[in-house]
């Protein structure tokens, strides 16, 4: 996803002179092509993320379209107030990109995990929160974000994740992308969980359970039409995310459904619990620890279906 981001941002910067990339001293060599092609629109802002977000807001107020990029916890938790005041209160079209989101950097320890940031950020008025599923969606999400006149947060993974979409999908912020049809359960996947969601559906199929799979890439604004369909036509709706079950996709859907008329479907939230990961773990180990593997999720779904 990182490489897709770098390639897409380079393309966009060449087409649109307003595009400026601000990096928090990461992406060693990742942006060499951008630096060569648009040398006056790439800035390494150092390990000073709060300043970087303020700088981006000042640029946006002056007519530019800045994109802030660094490791997720540092561009979110650390500068929450700058995102809130400088960007959102002033309603500036800054794009904030967190890389290594969720458990992507599991091995670096909980300082580098981000399983709470979507819940924090989606409370900020006017900020869209987007979690693309693969490299294709990263490219499409960036293009879509640049068309918005409001701020957008995009969380992406690391490099080398499986690509689910054969071609770049038509991604509209706030409109989920259906991937596979099914009749019994509806799997709503946010971000890099999509390959696991597809594999979960495969496992369920072998046991006679038909699963619809949706890339629910936008946590805010919620795609209510897709949610209405899911809760009206399936026995079970499952949210999947490398994020706490509080506040992220699962939390958002739980809030939404609580304000609807009684629905046919129940909600099952697959995500991380309300705790830090203290184990030494690679990303796959961390998913296993939290029950986010296809085998574990398929088992939970079977149990929930009764």
């Amino acid at each position: 996803m990182r490489n897709a981001f770098a390639k897409q941002i380079t393309e966009l910067a060449q087409r649109d002179e307003r595009v400026v990339l601000l990096s928090g001293d990461i992406g060693n060599r990742l942006f060499d092509d951008l630096k060569a092609k648009c040398p006056d629109r790439f800035f390494n802002c150092g390990v000073a993320e709060a300043n970087m977000v303020g700088v981006a807001a000042g640029m946006a107020m002056s007519g530019l379209r800045p994109i802030c990029y660094t490791i997720t916890p540092f561009i979110t938790y650390r500068c929450m107030e700058q995102i809130r005041v400088d960007v959102c209160y002033h309603h500036q079209p800054v794009i904030i990109v967190g890389t290594g989101a969720g458990l992507s950097y599991a091995s670096l320890g909980a300082t580098h995990h981000s399983c709470e940031e979507m819940g924090m950020l989606r409370l900020l008025p006017g900020l869209a929160v987007v979690a693309p599923a693969d490299a294709m969606e990263v490219r499409a999400a960036l293009k879509a974000a640049l068309k918005q006149n409001n701020p957008v947060y995009i969380r992406i993974g690391k490099k080398g994740e499986p690509v689910v979409h054969q071609t770049e999908p038509n991604l509209e912020i706030g409109k989920a992308i259906p991937l596979r049809d099914g009749t019994d359960v509806c799997l709503l996947s946010a971000g890099n969980m999509l390959p696991a969601a597809v594999e979960t559906a495969d496992r369920l199929a072998k046991e006679g359970v038909s699963a619809r799979v949706v890339s629910f890439h936008t946590i805010k604004p919620l795609d209510e039409a897709t949610l209405k369909d899911a809760f009206g036509n399936f026995k079970l709706v499952v949210t999947m995310e490398e994020h706490s079950i509080l506040g992220g996709l699962g939390g958002s859907v739980a809030e939404w459904i609580s304000a609807q008329a009684p629905a046919k479907a129940r909600l099952l939230r697959c995500g991380t619990p309300d705790e830090f990961l203290h184990e030494t773990a690679e990303q796959e180990d961390a998913r296993e620890h939290f029950g986010l593997t296809p085998a574990a999720m398929a088992a939970r779904i079977k149990a929930a279906l009764g």
Partner: protein, 269 residues
Amino acid sequence: MSDANPDLIARQLRFKLIQMSHAASTPHLASALSCVDILVAAYWNVLRIDATRPTDAARDRFILSKGHAATALYATLAERGFFPKDWLESFGKFRAPLAEQPAPNCAPGVELATGSLGHGLPVGVGMAMAARIQKQDYRVFVCMSDGECNEGTVWEAAMFAPAQKLERLTVIVDYNKWQATGRSNEIMALEPLRDKWAAFGWDAHDVDGHDITAVTRLLKNVAPGRPTAIIAHTVKGKGVSFMQDDNNWHYRTPKPEEVETARKELGLA
């Protein structure tokens, strides 16, 4: 008001701030009084601005980062014709354009919603970088309080701006020696303040922040390849004997008889 008499302009502005604080029962009067001469120097002598075109892309930007002193900015902008002076009369009232601290786009000429300290300088750095990217020659001025220099983002931006060689960026620290609840140099080790900015790579100067001529001269300063930092030594509550250097006036609001005494002390009819 005559452009020829900045001292009179400053005294009239000070009295307006005292009236506004009294009428709306709003605090931070002493903080507003301390930066009046800086605003007069900037808005009457230096800034390239046109009140009829407040969003002109080529305008100079002035950010009052110490948003708690907003009355000083409002009175200045009204006096310079950015909006009608009667807006000052509804200051602080429900749904009035001018709040205790400025909201985004609340009034022509207000560049940034401030109030949370430490935001003006990073945003100003972004505006100055945008000017260079867009080949504009406008300048950016950020006026901060000394208490504001407690904030980490100030020093993040202070390290970043010289690395970017932002010579069209100027910081003015309204160094009135007090913050909300104590002496600023006792709460945090601010001193040596000018040397700190100089060590960070700024063209840094001390000045008497109530000497409009001297402040004007420094505001016009552009040092090749370096941003400018002006440490403006000021007196909190400047202009009124019973407010000067008395930190109670960070929060206190003047009574009717105090407004009247202040008017006399300021030499106004």
